[in-house]
Symmetry: C2
DNA sequence: CGTCTATTCAACCTAAGGGTTGACAACGCC
DNA sequence: GGCGTTGTCAACCCTTAGGTTGAATAGACG
């Protein structure tokens, strides 16, 4: 258990199989076997994947006879989106501002360390 | 090199230290040493982290004398957001629809295996 | 040229991740 | 009650990830 929720979510989605399962589950709930069917891995492996997704809060599992239908939980996505959007906006904002600074800086003002005197008479 | 870009990005952000660096970089570019300063790990470890972030397309590094200022790239965030939003919306949509179905289902039509008749006049 | 600074490369260690097989629990069905 | 189905748990294997130390590269600078 890597402690923080965000790490768990990102980590869970870092695996293409798991992302694929999420995609599948977005369409509708499914049992473990149904989920396992498209892949070549054993059902045990799929079970493990689901555990990871569950611990990340991305899915929940109810119990229906001996079946365990898996359900996609939309809520956690919000957590991620918030994190991402925060920094994306900051980065873009910064970019925009820099862009503007460069634009409003006609042709004097050399910022790099003043190369050998250029200010009138010196030598 | 885990092949697909999305895996690389999610994987890169699965580490709290790296997320922290992203947060730091959202404020402004920084050199490796500057980035390493807050953490207890060696500068080599930080260098590795940056490599991961770079390969995920989250940062870029230019060369400035012997310094390598790191710059946050906002673009890749979009890729993630798109993926996330897609499934989040699907899941929520599905939820909404189910909710509606349940709502527009007054008091007849029992979907579970029909328990002893209830259609019409009860009592 | 020699040296200091900033950064990366290489070898190595340990722990975690994804996979497998085999055994076991829980439930529906004859 | 016994059996097939559905799913999990446990032990194990192999590869990757994050960390370390130590050496190497690349510029600035005296």
């Amino acid at each position: 258990m890597p402690a923080d929720p965000l790490s768990r979510v990102f980590s869970a989605l870092a695996d293409p199989t798991r992302r694929d399962m999420v995609a599948r589950l977005a369409v509708g709930d499914a049992t473990v076997n149904e989920l396992a069917e498209p892949y070549e891995v054993t059902v045990q492996a799929v079970s493990k994947h689901l555990k990871v997704l569950e611990q990340a809060g991305l899915v929940s599992r109810r119990s229906e006879a001996q079946r365990r239908p898996v359900h996609l939980e939309a809520e956690v996505f919000t957590l991620m989106t918030k994190w991402i959007e925060r920094y994306r906006r900051q980065a873009e904002e910064r970019y925009r501002r820099l862009d503007e600074v460069l634009r409003t800086m006609p042709d004097d003002v050399p910022q790099p360390p003043p190369p050998p005197a250029r200010t009138g008479a010196s030598t």
